[in-house]
Amino acid sequence: MDHKLSRLTTEQRYELVAYLDGELDEEATARIEKLLAENAVARADVELLAATYELLDGLPRPKASSEFTEKTLATARLAEVKPDITQSPFYRALQQSLPYFGWAAAMIVAGLLGFAATYRWVPQPHDELVHELELIQQLDKYQEVGSIDFLERLASEEPLLNELRGHSRAPATH
């Protein structure tokens, strides 16, 4: 490819602008100067970039009005009369300690979550006893009964059951 007229890469274009602004280090400056010496497109580009940038000198540069300083000082002093809470030592101390409060709150929340998780999901030795309390309370009777077959047979003996019920309702005679 003919280097004299080859188009520039994006990086080269960025470097051309930085070169014009004197923002390149020695090595990059030498690289761009070599490019400018060899490439007519780069030379034309750099000239156009410089010339169009100079046109900005014609932009209006409005100035502050004559009473600006006075007005600004008066407004600043007025703001001083109404103290800004963000500038008070208490607010600043509070702001500085906020991260610590944040950490403390996070630790408390983590502790509570840990406690809740442990309480909910980790089994305790007495959990099973509480769960089976009803069974344990009736354990003597269940042991006397012996088996489900016996209970079923007993249920089919209606007269015997009635006799037992009547016996249990009858008042003690001795």
């Binding site: 209006p60 502050a64 600004t72 963000t86």
Partner: protein, 204 residues
Amino acid sequence: MVAASSSSQYLKDPDVQLMLRVKHGDDQAFSELVERYQDRLVSIFANLLGGDSAAAEDLAQEVFLRIYRARNGYQPTAKFSTWVYRIANNLASNSRRTAGRRKEVQLAPADSGPLGMNPQEKVLAEKSALMPARQLDKSELQRIVIQALESLNERQRLAILLHKFEELSYAEIAEVMEISEEAVKSLLARARDNLRNILETYVK
């Protein structure tokens, strides 16, 4: 130790010295700072806001009020000008956002629509109408340059204004806009490319 040495490198900045006097209650020093920066800020804001001088003064005043309010906690951790322009950049961004919310149905400046052409289109249309180039008077050329600047997006425009008129280095612009130097390099290169495309016809 590091903080102390990074602070001390800015103590030679005369504006930092003034600000330290403001911190210790010297209102005369604050007045001097206002006088030093008021025109620069009004000019930047006016060019950012499309020439609205009243709004530019309001924003410039707000910059100084913020500086005054922050005086008690002031620490010289940057050049004073960098701090001022950073506040200005934040205010300009907030003002754009507020304006954007107010004009929800209006088109962004870079778009064109029923209200007419955007600045870039206007300049390009005029550029083609003016071919072959004729002599423009100063005010006509100024209007075209303003339109060319308005065709840039807000960030490109601010970077150009800080570089061209405030003579800030890429590193300083990066600090003001809170972006990397590489980002400033590409921002300025793209902005300059756009300006060249629009203004090349008007270069003698």
